[in-house]
């Protein structure tokens, strides 16, 4: 006998899991909600970590930021794994077709030499900065508190790896693999890059994961991406370097999207308490100064005489962004 199960109309016993219903009521929940809320263990742990015996495995005290409910830090993009990979797969398809077009039509050869050299000097060593961004965000994914923020930080870490890989591909499109060695040497030894490398290495030894979030995701990215993937991009596009612009399209789109997520986290955490707001503002002030110092020589290389003006614009926009988030910095 053929059973047609579809014809049965059944009233479910419940609409979602209890921990979701406790937050939102017993109504159908989204995949983001069921895949995110309260899935990190919170209450009972068997053993103290050998690597940090004074704390428990998932411990709220790994940052000085305090939240009554860490799940207040939700992701406005509602990224669970499926939504995240599907969104990125679309973006990578666009990026891939840009790289293909450049390769098929030999567009890289049309980039004026001066612009090409700027790209090689500035964008390629930047892949090491991106790798630092991966490390900071994987630290948060491991030691942060609550899936609402740890989950997107892992996605963010993987995105930084992807950007580093796109930058690598740009080097290989504009030049030979030797360009990667040259860029690495500039990163390790070149005067232009030492302030930035020192800054990035300093971020790698921070312990407070929310401090890393502010220093890396808000400040470093908030100043670097507009500088290189907006202002410098315009310069490339205006000067016949469209091929480079095409290859960095992913980064431009990505930073616009991720900045909205970063802003939502900062806004909620700062609004929670005066202490949080002060701590975040202090971090912004501290890391904004250091990041600007590290960016100054790079801006000089990229924009020459206009460097100060461009950096000034980037800074003004960044400060306006922070003000909107409720920070007086």
């Amino acid at each position: 006998m053929q059973i047609d199960l579809r014809t049965v109309s059944i009233k479910p016993l419940r609409n979602t899991f209890d921990h979701i219903a406790r937050r939102f009521g017993d109504k159908p929940a989204s995949r983001y909600q069921e895949g995110t809320y309260d899935i990190q263990q919170t209450d009972i742990f068997h053993y103290r970590p050998l690597w940090e015996p004074e704390k428990i495995l998932f411990d709220k005290s790994r940052t000085k930021i305090e939240m009554k409910d860490w799940y207040a830090l939700k992701d406005p993009r509602q990224f669970y794994y499926g939504a995240y990979t599907i969104a990125r797969a679309r973006q990578q398809e666009a990026a891939e077709s840009n790289f293909e077009m450049i390769e098929e039509r030999g567009l890289a050869a049309l980039v004026p030499e001066a612009l090409r050299d700027i790209a090689l000097d500035v964008l390629i060593p930047l892949r090491h900065v991106e790798w630092g961004g991966n490390m900071g965000n994987s630290y948060i994914a491991a030691y942060g508190y609550g899936t609402a923020i740890t989950q997107p930080c892992l996605y963010h870490a993987m995105d930084h790896l992807a950007v580093a890989q796109y930058l690598t591909r740009i080097a290989l499109t504009l030049d030979t693999p030797v360009a990667l060695d040259t860029a690495k040497d500039a990163w390790m030894n070149g005067a232009l890059w030492q302030p930035m490398r020192q800054h990035v290495e300093n971020l790698l030894v921070l312990q407070d994961w929310f401090e890393i979030f502010v220093a890396q995701n808000l400040v470093l990215e908030g100043l670097t991406y507009p500088l290189f993937f907006d202002h410098l991009d315009s310069k490339f596009a205006a000067g016949g370097g469209t091929a480079i612009s095409m290859m960095t399209r992913f980064m431009g789109e990505w930073s616009a999207e991720t900045a909205k997520w970063v802003d939502a986290q900062i806004k909620v955490a700062a609004a929670e308490s005066a202490e949080n707001k002060q701590a975040i503002a202090d971090w912004v002030v501290e890391y904004r100064g250091r990041t600007l110092e590290a960016l100054a020589p790079l801006a000089g290389r990229a924009f020459g005489a206009e460097a100060d003006a461009v950096l000034g614009e980037v800074l003004a926009a960044f400060n306006a962004r922070c003000a909107k988030l409720g920070l007086s910095v």
Partner: protein, 515 residues
């Protein structure tokens, strides 16, 4: 341009895309950037010698994984729309899935966090990238499992508060403590515990039985996430094996440490697998193969080949495993007998096998079932039929290491419960086997911390706030169940007469009759 890209070999290109990104820090000391790299005693001289077990750049990763996700969620949507849950053989089957969601899925989540940590902590870029990919895969596994099982939760009991239960319910501390143990160790031990023992040695014994069980029993939701995870699992297994070989190749001093971890985690894993064994032999209405057969195929044969492969590095088959060839005839029956007796405190339904099922068990376990288990099970069944369903109302003692109740017997005497005892700082601690005792004695400082559910009940830590254990008529079991969020009469007790059984029959009836 393009020419250069094409000239590069795949391996070389992947190296540029990953390990080329890293550098040795000089403004900050490497020990400070990678503070967990050395405390376990593992010596690594050259991270560049790491062989990438797979070569996936992020763009390719997104592309493949998104394709899999689109397909998976299309199936899950259709499953929900078409009442796919009514396609299972029998709602008894769902006890297995309840055990999976409460005991395994939350651990996928811990695997995600632990691999994020490993993906930050190794000084080598190659292993870090591989660990991060596993970390993101594991959040996928946790979520796809929750999403697939979400539809069952809407219609059946026992699923509804899985995270709360994982942290509290007595038998769930078995898998939970396994992952807590691994994550609280250092990054190298983590790789042996999860990357090697769990993914490489044991995955076949966990996933294959669950997924084939799902296929045999018409559970398309579970089959779909299981299949979809297969290619991820293949990557995880190669990572685990690569990692162990790398440690062994880097320094001869690593051998005794790695051997110790392999011994420990093989035994830890085998103890967790008792739950899988019982699922295979008792919880599936339509059975795939017996636990004993699975053990022989996936462990004795496949695992044997693996240990032969590792013998050239000096790795020996863990000694505790010799006991397994005896245990494989017993553990599933002993575990199910225990759950039947404590069926009042389990978040799934229990039952005694029917005649046909008993015959199947006799045929699969000719040396043991009729001799040791059939008489007891038949007696319990008869008693239940006469209205004397047997529930044990004393709490069992738990093993200090694996946290399973003391229910396993001596390897040389299946009528004698096996106890081992250790003393540490003047206190006595009990373990279930030589394997667990050995683990305890090696790290007593760690295992004395164990949050043993039964001890905690005795200490009064498992009641809701405001409950007064000295009040008249105080019912400790009822109060513990409330604290578990386990709904008495719905989540627990016999399948026969349960709400799951009644609803399943009624809904199926609606589908098959014209009323």
């Amino acid at each position: 341009m393009d020419m250069h890209v094409k000239k590069l070999g795949l391996k070389e290109k992947y190296a540029h895309m990953t390990r080329g990104l890293g550098w040795d820090t000089t403004y900050q000391p490497m020990e400070k950037v990678f503070p967990q790299a050395t405390f376990e005693g593992i010596k690594i001289h050259d991270w560049e010698k790491w062989e990438d077990p797979f070569r996936l750049t992020m763009d390719a990763y997104w592309k493949y994984q998104a394709e899999k996700e689109r397909k998976l969620y299309a199936v899950l949507d259709a499953f929900a729309q078409n009442n796919g849950h009514l396609g299972i053989t029998d709602a008894r089957y769902l006890s297995a899935i309840k055990l999976f969601l409460t005991g395994i899925s939350p651990l996928e989540y811990v695997a995600h966090r632990g691999f994020a940590a490993a993906g930050r902590n190794f000084p080598g870029v190659g292993p870090r990238v591989a660990c991060l990919m596993q970390s993101i895969d594991e959040v996928r596994h946790a979520q796809t499992q929750i999403h697939a099982i979400s539809n069952y939760n809407k219609h059946y009991d026992g699923f509804h508060d899985f995270k709360h239960m994982l942290e509290r319910v007595w038998y769930l501390s078995v898998p939970k403590s396994f992952f807590d143990d691994a994550f609280s160790a250092g990054p190298f031990e983590w790789m042996i515990a999860i990357g090697f023992s769990f993914e490489y040695v044991l995955t076949n014994l966990l996933f294959v039985p669950f997924m084939s069980g799902a296929a045999y029993n018409g559970d398309m939701a579970t089959v779909t996430f299981g299949f979809s995870a297969q290619s991820d699992e293949a990557r995880h297994m190669t990572l685990g094996l690569e990692c162990i070989k790398f440690m062994l190749e880097q320094d001869p001093d690593n051998l005794p440490i790695v051997q110790k971890w392999i011994d420990k985690w093989a035994w830890r894993g085998i103890r967790v697998l008792s739950l899988v064994g019982m699922m295979m032999d008792y919880m599936l209405p339509k059975r795939v193969m017996s636990w004993k057969e699975a053990w022989e195929i996936y462990f004795e044969q496949n695992g044997g080949a693996l240990f032969n492969d590792l013998a050239r590095y000096g790795i020996k088959v863990p000694e505790c495993l010799t006991q397994c060839s005896v245990d494989k005839e017993h553990i599933s029956h002993q575990a199910w007998a225990t759950f039947y007796q404590y069926g009042g405190a389990a978040a799934f339904h229990t039952w005694m096998p029917n005649d046909e099922e008993m015959d199947w068990l006799s045929a699969k376990y000719p040396n043991t079932f009729d001799k040791y288990y059939r008489p007891r099970f038949t007696y319990w069944r008869e008693q239940a039929e006469q209205g004397n369903r047997f529930y044990s109302n004393t709490l069992p003692m738990l093993c200090q290491v694996c946290q399973i109740p003391m229910l396993f017997t001596e390897p040389d005497d299946p009528t004698q419960i096996c106890y081992r005892e250790s003393e540490y700082k003047g206190e006595k601690y009990h373990t279930c086997s030589d394997g667990c005792k050995h683990i305890f004695d090696d790290e007593p400082e760690k295992y004395i911390q164990a949050w043993l559910p039964v001890h905690q009940i005795y200490q009064g830590n498992c009641f809701n706030e405001g409950v007064d254990p000295t009040a008249e008529g105080f019912d400790p079991l009822a109060e513990v169940l409330k604290w578990y969020h386990l709904e008495h009469g719905k989540d627990n007790l016999d399948y026969e007469g349960s709400r799951d059984q009644q609803n399943f029959q009624a809904w199926r009836g609606m589908a098959t009759q014209n009323t």
